[in-house]
């Protein structure tokens, strides 16, 4: 069987251009993540009418509105819970959640772990920029040690969440992480997550240049993403840590992929076994 080559990806075809210019700060990584997501959607042939994007509150929550699809901007921390209802009601929709480190790991943390446990076929893209950007730069569950934020004026001393380890531990069938600099790799990861029949959790290491980078002397956007690249340890060379010069603490790529029963399919099988549905 031969497949016709997919038409070239033109991001404008997926955007609500009348909403431009967008509200993101110069140097913010969120736009690159959105581009990678739409690129993956394009390659998988998911139509805009079948695409549903659910997002929460924060900078991450606002970017869904730019997509020419069925978009739902809900309450802080609750996009996974809203998406669970939407997907159960409409299995025909491709439901994608766009969330952030505060939205997903702090106020929405309970919904994340139960979404991972259920393994309903939703793709969750969590943009991790280590800070609450929309509210002016407060500490988040992923803010690195010693970093300054408006609510850690003396530097952060709290431990951080490893979001991917959390998702895997809670049972997510598919877990991955990527940096925005590796846009094609991020696109491939999102594509794999979208195609995965179950709950896919993808952490995108984004950068908040204006509010977080500036306050911590992390350099401009290019310097921030290059330092992310230096820290990354792609799954293809998992064990080649270049100590002591590069700790490569940030594992990227597909971090977990398990064959677990997808929620809706498991429910259907269970009811069928009882003769409860046709």
């Amino acid at each position: 069987m031969t497949e016709a080559p997919a038409p070239e990806f033109v991001i404008r075809e997926y955007l609500r251009e009348h909403l431009m210019p967008h509200f993101l700060c110069p140097g913010c990584g969120h736009g690159i993540a959105l581009r990678a997501l739409l690129w993956a959607v394009h390659e998988l042939g998911i139509t805009k009418d079948r695409l549903a994007i659910v997002s929460g509150i924060g900078c991450s929550g606002r970017i869904g509105a730019y997509v020419d699809a069925n978009t739902f901007h809900v309450t802080h921390g609750r996009p996974l819970a809203f998406a669970t209802g939407l997907k159960l009601a409409r299995p025909d929709l491709e439901v994608v959640v766009i969330t952030g480190d505060g939205d997903c790991l702090a106020i929405g943390g309970n919904h994340l772990i139960h979404a991972c446990r259920r393994n309903l076929n939703i793709t969750c893209m969590m943009l991790n920029n280590e800070v609450y950007g929309m509210t002016g730069g407060q500490v988040s569950p992923t803010t690195s040690n010693s970093r300054y934020t408006t609510t850690t004026p003396l530097g952060n001393f709290e431990p951080t969440f490893d979001a991917c380890a959390l998702a895997e531990g809670a049972g997510a069938g598919f877990v991955g992480r990527e940096i925005t600099l590796q846009t094609p790799a991020l696109k491939n990861l999102l594509r794999e997550g979208l195609a995965y029949p179950g709950f896919a959790f993808i952490e995108v290491i984004s950068d908040c240049t204006e509010i977080y980078g500036r306050k911590n002397d992390l350099g401009n956007s290019a310097e921030m993403v290059l330092s992310q690249k230096a820290a990354a340890r792609p799954d293809v060379y998992t064990n080649s840590v270049d100590r002591p010069f590069r700790p490569n603490q940030l594992r990227t790529g597909v971090l977990a992929r398990k064959d677990r029963p997808e929620y809706a399919a498991a429910r259907q099988r269970h009811l069928q076994s009882l003769g409860n549905v046709e």
Partner: protein, 383 residues
């Protein structure tokens, strides 16, 4: 052969009647979280929904339950959740999202004593104001207060019709006692039940504006996948669904949310008047207390006291004009409620100067009795 459709008679608990009413009203998605004294609703929905092609899910918390029903409603299903006081508090944030984005949904609050964990197994009427104003910001909302098991069944069906017709959350409040009360109910034949569906936008209309009010003032809903590709947000939005900072658009959006039910009060308001025509003393009461009040009014009449009852079935929007008409000739009104005095403020501001308004309250976890109400009626009649 009779052409009269067959009814079936069942002995049901209030919470069961609520679940059966929901199924009959078209509910096909339920998300909930266990809480006393409402859990029997979830239990019955869990066993009923799979058989009618619906989905039941027990979520991780009350907040998630409310969010999930909104997602399912935007997907096109008729949806419900049920809870009690503490859970209702947790749902308020997403209830606000339902208000702002005009998502049809039904929320059951089986009232128990509060505040906080309060009295989980005892009745109260402390959520009248939480149901009206629990979520932040100005808005209209529909709240129903059935007073019997049969009425819970009927009002749950009606709640779905109102939610779908007017794109609004509808809250049903009833007390723990009625939730766990068993009564005989005549269930109507399904084909005789009036079912109202939401107004869907015409498919593939790319110029469709998701928040432009229709001829009845209510916007049609876009079904995902029908080609509209609209945006929904809890941010204040214009008719196109996108956030707005324009003062005139903000004012229009908020006016709409506050006043959209007003042209439809004739379809929304329901109330019961007992012995009202020549009454000098009117008792205003809802739900469980109205049952006691009905008995007290009958006893007062037997004693020659001209007493009457006004029972809002639709608590919000409050049936102001019907009450005012009733109070015109009356000299006194007793507002009997199992809280420290919530409904009385609403009655006071509509009663007029000629009418004395007296509260009869009970906040000890016990029901107000007919004799308590009768005593109050007699005192006022002798004044």
């Amino acid at each position: 052969m009779s052409t009269e459709p067959a009814t079936t008679t069942q002995n049901l608990e209030g919470n069961e009647a609520c679940a059966l009413g929901a199924i009959a009203g078209g509910c096909r998605f339920y998300a909930g979280y266990p809480i006393t004294p409402s859990s029997e609703i979830a239990e019955r929905m869990a066993s009923e929904l799979p058989g009618v092609g619906g989905v039941f899910i027990q979520m991780e918390d009350e907040i998630a339950s409310m969010a999930a029903i909104l997602g399912a409603s935007m997907g096109g299903l008729k949806v419900m959740t049920a809870t009690s006081g503490p859970g209702f508090s947790l749902k308020q944030e997403n209830l606000g999202l339902a208000v702002a984005t005009e998502i049809p949904c039904v929320i059951i609050d089986v009232m128990r004593g509060g505040p906080s964990t309060g009295l989980p197994t005892r009745p109260a009427q402390g959520d009248y104001m939480q149901a009206r104003w629990g979520t932040h910001g100005d808005h209209a909302i529909i709240v129903l207060t059935p007073a019997s098991v049969a009425e819970i069944y009927a009002q749950t069906i009606r709640a779905f019709n109102l939610a779908e017709a007017f794109r609004t959350p509808v809250v049903i409040l009833y007390e723990e006692t009625i939730g766990h009360l068993r009564e005989t109910v005549d269930l109507p034949a399904p084909e005789t039940i009036e079912i109202i569906d939401r107004q869907w936008a015409a498919p593939d209309d790319r110029n469709f504006l998701p928040y432009r009010p229709g001829t009845d003032g209510i916007p049609a809903m876009p079904r995902p996948g029908d080609g509209h590709r609209t945006h929904m947000t809890g941010l204040t939005h214009g008719e196109d669904g996108f956030p707005t900072q324009k003062p005139e658009a903000i004012a229009a959006a908020n006016r709409h949310l506050s006043h959209k039910l007003e042209p439809h009060l004739d379809r929304i308001e329901q109330f019961e008047i007992v012995a009202g025509e020549d009454a000098e003393v009117i008792v205003v009461a809802c739900g469980l207390v109205a049952r006691a009040a009905k008995r007290a009014v009958a006893k007062a009449r037997a004693k020659g006291i001209r007493a009457g009852l006004f029972r809002p079935i639709t608590l919000w929007p409050f049936p102001t004009l019907p009450l005012q008409a009733l109070l015109q000739p009356a000299g006194a009104v007793i507002v009997a409620e199992m809280n420290a005095g919530q409904l009385i403020a609403e009655v006071e501001r509509h009663a007029g100067d000629h009418c004395r308004v007296v509260g009869l309250n009970r906040i000890d976890g016990e029901a107000i009795t007919p004799s308590q109400i009768l005593q109050q009626i007699e005192e006022l009649a002798n004044d």
